[in-house]
Symmetry: C2
Subunit: 410 residues, 2 copies
């Protein structure tokens, strides 16, 4: 990046930190345990809204409803989310149920239904228990809070088998006004029959129009959420929704705004931290892998190569085993379908050079082993060709990944 950091991380912040946002969560009965399984984010005013969705052709009912809703107006007052059931592959009844969630949430909050987004994660192919969902939705407005508890309750409600809540918050200055950006996400959980689902929610009090928010969200997603791989499977339910209340009082953001870069940096930080948290909490993962590719012919080439490395089961297994297996890394570089000069590749594991100009260099095996036993593993590839760069994140492949995903349905 090289640019000066123009934002401050708020370690205690959450999705209710930006002005105008409240949130809450409760247990309505979709999960077998008593953990929260229904949550809502509410904005005091109509918020500019943008979203990106799964590229899977089989889109769950809530994805279709939210997409339709945002295509009509682009302003949201609320997002209602359930876990425990993905409402995917549920046909016409599933579509109707997602619409009912939207309508009932709107009625309970006294707002228009076209101001409510819907998201779901959990079991595929089963109909929602709508009596439980409806009771929960009716109770949700009395449970929303504008403080850390509200944010925490919401974050709990969107988890499936995620081990940790994922939240990030930064503050920055636009026109001398303090602006806050926050986000919450869930990653690779597994409730059978299901696949890893990513849900992300961004709140900010910045004043920004819907079209620019949509463009920015797409740009930032491409270098954050779209650069993580847990197992290469794209869920039917993946969704990232952003809401901007505008209550910070800044002059509406444009690409020419003098503090535009600060906002982009802040949004990118929030999305990147959430993406890394998802990768680190991948099913069965014990380590975060961060792969950086530099001096590729283009950023796109660097991205493709970084994602091929991070998606290689052989590389992932080697990291789990703390094995400095550069042969698997260069093989991944070579099959990524991108221009590579086969004689000029350098590879480092952390600070340890293992390959220079495509030839192995002697390294201290003990030092490499110690490094590969740490919790965050850096794989650095320099192609020595152009100016394209990219970073991708993933996790190791472990016995537990197989155990979790081989589990019988019982």
């Amino acid at each position: 990046m090289g640019k000066e950091k123009q934002y401050t991380v708020l370690p205690e912040g959450g999705i209710t930190t930006p002005k105008g946002f409240k949130a809450g969560g409760l247990h309505c009965g979709l999960k077998k345990t008593d953990r929260h399984d229904l949550g809502v984010i509410v904005c005091d005013v109509p918020a500019a809204a943008a979203a990106v969705y799964t590229t899977n052709l089989f889109q769950a009912a809530p994805v279709k409803v939210t997409r339709d809703t945002l295509s009509e107006g682009g302003m949201l007052r609320a997002i209602v989310v359930n876990s425990g059931n993905a409402n995917a592959c549920t046909g016409d009844q599933g579509d109707a149920d997602a619409r009912t969630m939207q309508a009932n949430m709107a009625e309970a909050l006294g707002i228009s239904k076209n101001q409510v987004a819907v998201a779901s994660t959990g079991v595929i192919g089963e109909l929602l228990k709508m009596d439980r969902v409806n009771s929960g939705i009716a109770e949700l407005p009395s449970r929303v809070l504008g403080d850390a508890q509200g944010s925490d309750d919401f974050c709990q409600a969107i988890l499936t088998t995620d081990l940790v809540k994922k939240v990030s918050c930064v503050t920055l200055t636009l026109d001398g006004q303090q602006v806050t950006i926050a986000g919450a996400a869930k990653g690779s959980g597994m409730i059978h029959p299901n696949m890893a689902t990513m849900l992300g929610f961004v709140t900010t009090d910045a004043a920004i129009g819907t079209p620019l928010l949509q463009e920015l969200l797409r740009e930032v997603t491409n270098v954050s959420f779209n650069m993580i791989t847990v197992d290469g499977d794209t869920s039917t339910n993946d969704m990232l929704v952003a809401m901007a209340s505008g209550l910070a009082g800044n002059r509406e953001l444009t690409r020419n705004h003098p503090d535009y870069e600060a906002f982009v940096q802040g949004l990118r930080h929030v999305c990147t931290e959430l993406a890394k948290a998802i990768a680190r909490d991948g099913e069965g993962a014990t380590k975060l892998i961060e792969t950086t590719v530099v001096s590729a012919v283009s950023d796109e080439a660097a991205q493709a190569i970084a994602k091929t490395i991070i998606g290689s089961s052989l590389v992932k297994s080697a990291v789990y085993g703390a094995d400095a297996n550069w042969g698997r890394i260069i093989a991944a570089v070579g099959r990524a379908g991108q221009p590579v000069n086969v004689g000029t590749v350098d590879i480092r594991l952390g600070d340890i050079p293992v390959l220079e100009q495509s030839r192995p260099v002697p390294f201290d095996e003990e030092m490499a082993l110690e490094y590969l036993k740490t919790g965050t593993i850096g794989i650095h590839v320099n192609l020595n060709m152009g100016s394209g760069t990219a970073t991708a994140w993933g996790c190791d492949l472990t016995y537990d990944y197989v155990r979790i995903n081989a589990a019988y349905r019982t």
Copy 2:
């Protein structure tokens, strides 16, 4: 297919069964155990030759040497193969070593060096111990045999950590002459640092010109070896070489030959059997998965979808766990990047329908569990769109895959 089978499987046949071929193997000292690690196939006459190579940009030295050699003439008398060292990422010395293997094998057999192909599999990034290789090559001619023992010795010599030898042989009639086609292969073995390498060798006594043999080998590879996935990693050393001695005495094959189809069928059978054997013997595998996609918009679309399913870690884990997890299958269908009608997908596990017209259908869980505990699992997807079909093969993802590939180098 639908066509009558025009060949006969020879269960006891091997690569020395076609007229004109001898083979052998021995231990020269590249493997730490006393197992064979150097082998050769020899033809009594110059054989028409064709090959397909890894698409990985980083091609091992023997791949480059064999490619150069076949581009010059297309006739081979011998193929020399070592296991235990891939001679990959070994720079100029590696190239020179592969050329030395070629030249020394030619000298030992009293033939021209441009009639010798070279293949290697094993450790990446280490130079070959050429004193051992050269001693072995000098001894090889005295060890070649035209019988089952010769074929067996060669098959042993190309294995790394493969659990079983992979060989297939068929016979058929061209112009009333008996023709035999045989093949041997190695699959996903692992000697650190390394990745799965596929080597395949086809021998036949059919009379067929090099150009047609090359075209046919490519066509058949696309529906056999190119339709298997163990872990998605493409090795630096993958190579498939075919030799045709012409000693069966048939009129030279052309696409208009009345028995052309019989030869294609036979070659396809040999390559498919070897491919399936590689998938079944994938690292840590306990089951062969066969995925058939029918009624896609094109064969290419069906191929892409079948390979996406077979490559899904979530699907592979579910098969290991005998879990009838159709949600993961349909999610793989939806992310394959191919045209799919989201309302018309049928999925069967073996004979058990689990999804019809994209909606779950009730099925007997016990029956599904019993089926998924068998050794060969069929996943059948009907898109109900066009006439495109494809079959792909893979294996389950198991604890042992992770164990094997996480191993420390010691």
